[in-house]
Symmetry: C2
Subunit: 175 residues, 2 copies
């Protein structure tokens, strides 16, 4: 994950590790955080793997600027075009960088993700039906209020994502 955060942020241009962390905090910081303990080793790894070039500045502060190589750029765009998956909110990170993606692939991936979302919503709805049926037969059903509420959270969560996705698929404006 951290590797793609770095590559993606560097699509904007040269940056130092410090700058990358700042940028992440100010943009996707709500959902993704990075620590120097993972960031600097990642940058080193990416340079060794030919994804980035490292440029020392003589601006005294020992600052290093990283830049994408063509390989790095290709690797990032390859990752970006892969289907959106729910794992660890990776889809949110991908969509954050979606301005870089080919519009046709973008549309396709967003619609597929919406399709899956709808399936999930239907499934939770079905489970909810069963559960509330079972619950109705219990005399102490009040004891399960909070357990059930978490299922309800799931439903609301997916419905929120659905509405949001539909909005961005249509590229509607934000009020």
């Amino acid at each position: 994950m951290i590797d793609y955060i770095c590559l993606g942020m560097l699509m904007q241009g040269k940056m130092s590790g410090y700058d990358i962390k700042k940028t992440v905090e100010q943009s996707v910081g709500l959902f993704f955080t990075i620590s120097y303990g993972s960031l600097y080793p990642a940058l080193k790894r990416l340079v060794e793997g030919g994804m980035l070039t490292e440029e020392e500045t003589n601006n005294s502060k020992n600052k290093k600027l990283y830049q994408l190589t063509e390989t790095g750029r290709g690797s990032f765009l390859q990752w970006l075009g892969e289907p959106l998956q729910s794992n660890r909110r990776e889809y949110l990170l991908k969509i954050f960088f979606y301005d870089c993606l080919d519009p046709a692939i973008r549309k396709n991936n967003l619609e597929n993700f919406l399709f899956e979302l709808n399936r999930n919503i239907a499934q939770i709805g079905a489970v909810q039906q069963i559960v509330s049926g079972q619950l109705a037969q219990l005399e102490n059903k009040d004891d399960y209020y909070y357990r059930v509420s978490v299922m309800h959270y799931g439903l609301r969560f997916y419905q929120m994502e659905k509405a949001w996705l539909e909005q961005i698929i249509e590229k509607r404006d934000y009020e």
Copy 2:
């Protein structure tokens, strides 16, 4: 985290590791998953720490039943009563077990969490104002659509949580 999942699930009564995993999958499985590679070592640790007792069944299948000790029960309830925090969705796990918590503490913790949520919503709203102001001055603002959309996701997300929390604070029924 896994420790409290185990303790919480065992509040219902004796269970095997296998049972715990099943129960987790069928309840909070949408948001929390556990693997045997973390579950069995956790159970071992909890027994060693005096939180659980282990009982071998001679029912051939080598099944072991785990049961909360008074220490384990106390430790769980202590954790459960601590303030709700956004970290790694731990709050969702706590609320799942909230039927076990003293109603006064429960109400207090839920309301504090709602208060924080409102602060977050206000803050994102403010950031959004600034960003859309800056964006309006750009000629290529279309290039930032998806980056901005992730900020909007954040807002929707918190608003969803807010509505959900308000519902459970009032203990309103689910339709």
